[in-house]
């Protein structure tokens, strides 16, 4: 199952990237209080996903050597942007990262189905559902920020 282990590795890796990026946005936009606190909470969810995956990773071995999915390893947000438009762009970047996380969980769940690995399946379903909630928040927050940022932001 070399490819499933690759995707398990990708799930772990992309959740880490997402968690780090949520924290970077939380710190970088600390004065935007709801963004700050919600991003910290959502980073915690991604940490928890990695935690849940840990025992599975042990069983499958985390395979990061395969070339092909490397292209999927999105870079996280090292630096945040400034101002209201910057916040909008950062949220959009988080959305891209979270989408990658979500599709990864979808793929992992399919593999787990095939192998009848109920433990992995449960982890994948749980994490997928919470990633949906992360995405929903990002969507909501972008919709709130957009008009002001695009039209009247100085």
């Amino acid at each position: 199952m070399p490819h499933l282990s690759t995707y398990v590795g990708l799930a772990d890796h992309s959740e880490k990237t997402l968690a780090d990026s949520f924290r970077a946005v939380a710190d970088g936009h600390a004065h935007v209080s709801d963004v700050h606190f919600t991003c910290l909470t959502l980073a915690g969810w991604s940490d928890d996903h990695r935690h849940r995956l840990a025992s599975v990773v042990e069983r499958y071995g985390e395979d990061t050597d395969i070339d092909e999915p490397e292209r999927l390893h999105a870079a996280g947000l090292a630096e945040v942007r400034e101002g209201e438009v910057g916040l909008l762009r950062d949220l959009q970047d988080l959305h891209v990262l979270a989408s990658l996380v979500q599709t990864t969980w979808t793929v992992v769940a399919q593999g787990a189905q095939g192998l009848r690995d109920t433990e992995l399946l449960e982890v994948a379903h749980h994490c997928n559902a919470e990633t949906s909630r992360q995405l929903s928040w990002l969507n909501t927050r972008m919709k709130v920020a957009a008009p002001q940022a695009l039209i009247v932001s100085p």
Partner: protein, 780 residues
């Protein structure tokens, strides 16, 4: 002048048994030297000093308001008035420091001018911003103390005239969670219960609601039950040992004292107990709710022992409280700021609904929920949509709802900003700080004192780039920072309706003329709309009304077919013996005591006021997701795990800071501070500490102390009091305005210097109750 209600806040008891009518008792107060025989006229109204909405008549003598008398026939108070209503209702009106002429800023100073000049400046700036940058430059921050008609006109001007999403009220600080919790559970705002449930209940739960101080007449109503035959058992959830807590213990109930910031863990444990012990009406749950299984898995980890660990409440007390609720035949719950202004506000308030839904205890005499409001007319702001709501409990995300309003106002639906959730006030101030809101219009509220992290708020209001308009009765701390100040008429000086917590609509008639050139808020917004030339699709004036009654008739039309149906009300009908509970329509010509008696909720996708939110993140549920759930009139059981508060105490700030009120003052004391008896009873700020915390710091009762958080500090006198160990309580009424001129700490006593800029993810209500702080002694 007799001021007995200062010492005897709730007055003489009139006890009565369960399910019998609450006896009447008429309270009256007249100015010194005025007797009942001297009064020229009595003018019908209702008290405007808290959300209870006690019916009263205003005494007029020689063109002045000289006192008030409770209306014996009114369903809300049966004649009673409390200390604020009696002593605070009229003195402010003839106070010599009333604003009587408009002011404009000239060379850095506010100077008197005439209306044409003041309105001319507003219109010039407003026009210029609209032409150059558009409607998103305009923000309106209004009140919970104007009349229904004034909110409605403001909503029409803001939404259909200007087209800005930036409209909110200080209702955001007091009542936003009440509305949000209703919407999440039932699909739309609207109080299910009725005050008469107090007569019928056999258990009474007060969640973060210090009713004895916040709604004193309602507490008299409770005391008349707890002192009569067959009394209800009272359960109080409050970290402070309040009067309510003492009554809970006296009646064989329970006082639960959760650590500040842990309400949600406690609520989850109570919910779990109901499920574990089979105190669930399964047929009701199956027919009238959705979400049971999810709720069960959310609350599963919260055993009473877990609640004890997180909240510090003994596990057996949790069990006892759950049993009282679980075995009650008619439990009544009330909720207020201890939940609304705390961490996880909406989730915890929704959890109260869950308990009632699980037991099918809603819509019957005694079995109900009262999500309280802080302010007298907060409900109307929610109904009319001068805050973040859409007029008539409509749904921003529903194009059909937006079209209904556009048709009624005869404007293009695109004018009405509905592309995203409306902007809450904390966000509005952030936009002003960032420079994208450049005109801020503040009516009848004092954010420089009442908003969290108040130093920041004052900085924003002082920015030269932000054009600030303030209309108020007095030159408040906020008005001092304005570019234009407009003198407003107050209660008794204008006519309009308002609606209390239990949906009772009262008409408050004009009793006297406003002083000098002061005008009603209604007249001010009409004048602005006229001067701006706002027109409808046919080029006719957008605001077509001139009198409050004309506005009321237009408002009624906008409620037709909505849960908040006013179509059966008229001014004439409201001049009857008592206020009337909406909905009032052909089907219910005399009003409606309770909502949801049939277990049918306004949750249908095409009906609901919101599709709902994720209670943890605040993410909105989409229309498709909502439709997929097929709620079809069922209520939502929504749960959320407990999350630790935003700011945890540490070595530098080891205590938890919470704010609240005094029984004798209201808001920033604009009215109550101008009543001698009330101000004498609570002239100055203080902080309350637990004995152990005081002792550890060498603080004695009455010492001067410095209370500091990462954001600011106050220096006031200490009281060793009723708070639990680790907590510090400060009243939020006090800014630097000092009517008696004797406060030693007037410049260093503003409670919100310490609070955080953080809000609930769903209701967006700021969290006033969970900052970390330190207290040190600075003098005797």
């Amino acid at each position: 002048m007799t001021t007995e209600r200062i010492d005897d806040v709730w007055g003489a008891r009139t006890p009565h048994p369960r399910a019998t009518a609450w006896p009447t008792r008429v309270d009256l107060h007249l100015e010194d030297g005025v007797s009942e025989a001297d009064v020229d006229r009595w003018v019908q109204s209702a008290c405007l000093l808290c959300s209870n909405g006690c019916g009263c008549d205003i005494a007029v003598k020689d063109g002045r308001m000289v006192g008030v008398r409770g209306r014996e026939t009114d369903r809300v108070n049966h004649g009673r008035l409390g200390p604020k209503g009696l002593y605070g209702s009229t003195p402010w009106a003839s106070s010599p420091d009333r604003l009587t002429r408009p002011l404009v800023r000239e060379g850095g100073r506010l100077v008197e001018t005439d209306w044409d000049t003041a309105m001319g400046r507003i219109v010039e700036r407003s026009r210029q911003l609209l032409d150059e940058e558009g409607p998103l430059t305009h923000g309106f921050y209004t009140s919970g103390q104007l009349f229904l008609e004034e909110y409605y006109v403001q909503a029409v001007v803001g939404k259909a005239g200007i087209g800005t999403p930036h409209m909110d009220g200080n209702t955001r600080l007091c009542t936003a969670t009440s509305a949000a919790a209703f919407k999440e559970s039932f699909g739309a705002d609207g109080q299910p219960g009725s005050y008469e449930d107090i007569e019928h209940c056999d258990a009474l739960f007060l969640y973060g609601h210090n009713m004895a101080e916040t709604q004193t007449v309602l507490w008299s109503r409770v005391l008349d039950r707890t002192h009569g035959d067959d009394p209800p058992r009272v359960v109080c959830v409050d970290p402070r040992r309040t009067t309510v807590a003492a009554e809970a213990e006296r009646t064989g109930g329970v006082h639960l004292r959760p650590r500040v910031g842990t309400n949600q863990a406690l609520m989850n444990a109570l919910t779990r107990e109901l499920m574990e012990n089979g105190w669930v009406d399964e047929a009701y749950v199956a027919t009238h709710t959705i979400g049971f299984d999810d709720l069960r898995s959310v609350v599963a980890p919260y055993t009473p022992e877990e609640a004890e660990r997180v909240c510090g409440v003994p596990a057996d007390d949790v069990r006892r409280a759950a049993r009282i609720f679980g075995e009650a035949e008619a439990p009544l719950s009330t909720v207020l700021q201890g939940f609304y202004q705390s961490h996880q506000a909406t989730a915890a308030s929704v959890a109260v609904h869950n308990l009632h839904l699980l037991r099918g205890m809603i819509g019957r005499p005694g079995a109900g929920v009262l999500q309280m409001n802080g302010q007298p007319t907060a409900q109307n702001n929610r109904e009319c949509g001068a805050d973040g709501d859409l007029t008539g409990f409509r749904n921003w995300d529903n194009p059909e709802h937006v079209r209904q309003l556009a048709d009624q106002w005869n404007v293009d639906p695109m004018t009405i900003p509905h592309w995203a959730p409306p902007t809450h006030v904390m966000q509005m101030f952030s936009y002003a700080e960032a420079g994208s809101i450049e005109l801020l219009w503040i009516s009848a509220t004092n954010p420089a004192v009442s908003m969290p992290e108040s130093a920041r708020i004052r900085r924003i209001l002082s920015k030269p780039e932000v054009f600030v308009i303030v209309q108020d009765l007095f030159l408040t701390e906020t008005a001092e920072l304005a570019d234009v100040v407009l003198p407003a008429a107050g209660w008794g000086e204008k006519t309009g309706c308002f609606t209390n917590v239990d949906r009772t609509v009262h008409l408050s008639e004009q009793a006297v003329d406003p002083p000098g050139e002061a005008r009603s808020d209604l007249d001010i917004f009409v004048a602005y709309a006229d001067a701006m030339g706002f027109v409808d699709r046919d080029g006719a004036p957008l605001v077509k009304w001139r009198t409050p009654e004309q506005v009321f008739e237009a408002w009624k039309e906008s409620t037709r077919g909505r849960p908040v149906d006013y179509t059966g009300l008229t001014y004439a009908k409201l001049r009857g013996p008592s206020g009337i509970q909406w909905p009032v329509n052909e089907e219910h010509p005399d009003g409606t005591a309770r909502l949801y008696a049939d277990g049918v909720f306004p949750s249908d996708t095409d009906v609901c006021e919101t599709y709902g939110h994720d209670l943890v993140t605040g993410a909105t549920v989409t229309e498709q997701e909502h439709r997929a759930l097929a709620p079809g009139g069922r209520a939502f059981l929504k749960g959320a795990p407990y999350l630790p508060p935003h700011e945890e105490p540490d070595d530098a700030y080891p205590l938890r800071y919470t704010t609240g009120r005094s029984v004798y003052q209201f808001h920033t004391r604009t009215k109550t501070g101008r009543s001698r008896p009330l101000d004498d009873a609570a002239p100055d700020a203080w902080v309350e500490l637990a004995a152990a915390d005081a002792e550890a710091r060498g603080i004695a009762d009455g010492d001067r102390v410095r209370v500091e958080s990462p954001r600011g500090a106050i220096e006031v006198r200490a009281r060793i009091g009723r708070v639990m160990e680790g907590a510090v309580f400060a009243p939020f009424h006090y800014g630097h305005w000092d009517p008696a001129g004797t406060a030693e700490d007037a410049d260093a006593r503003q409670a919100n210097e310490l609070t955080m800029t953080v809000w609930d993810p769903v209701s967006k209500q700021p969290v006033f109750k969970t900052a970390a702080c330190q207290v040190t002694r600075i003098g005797g």
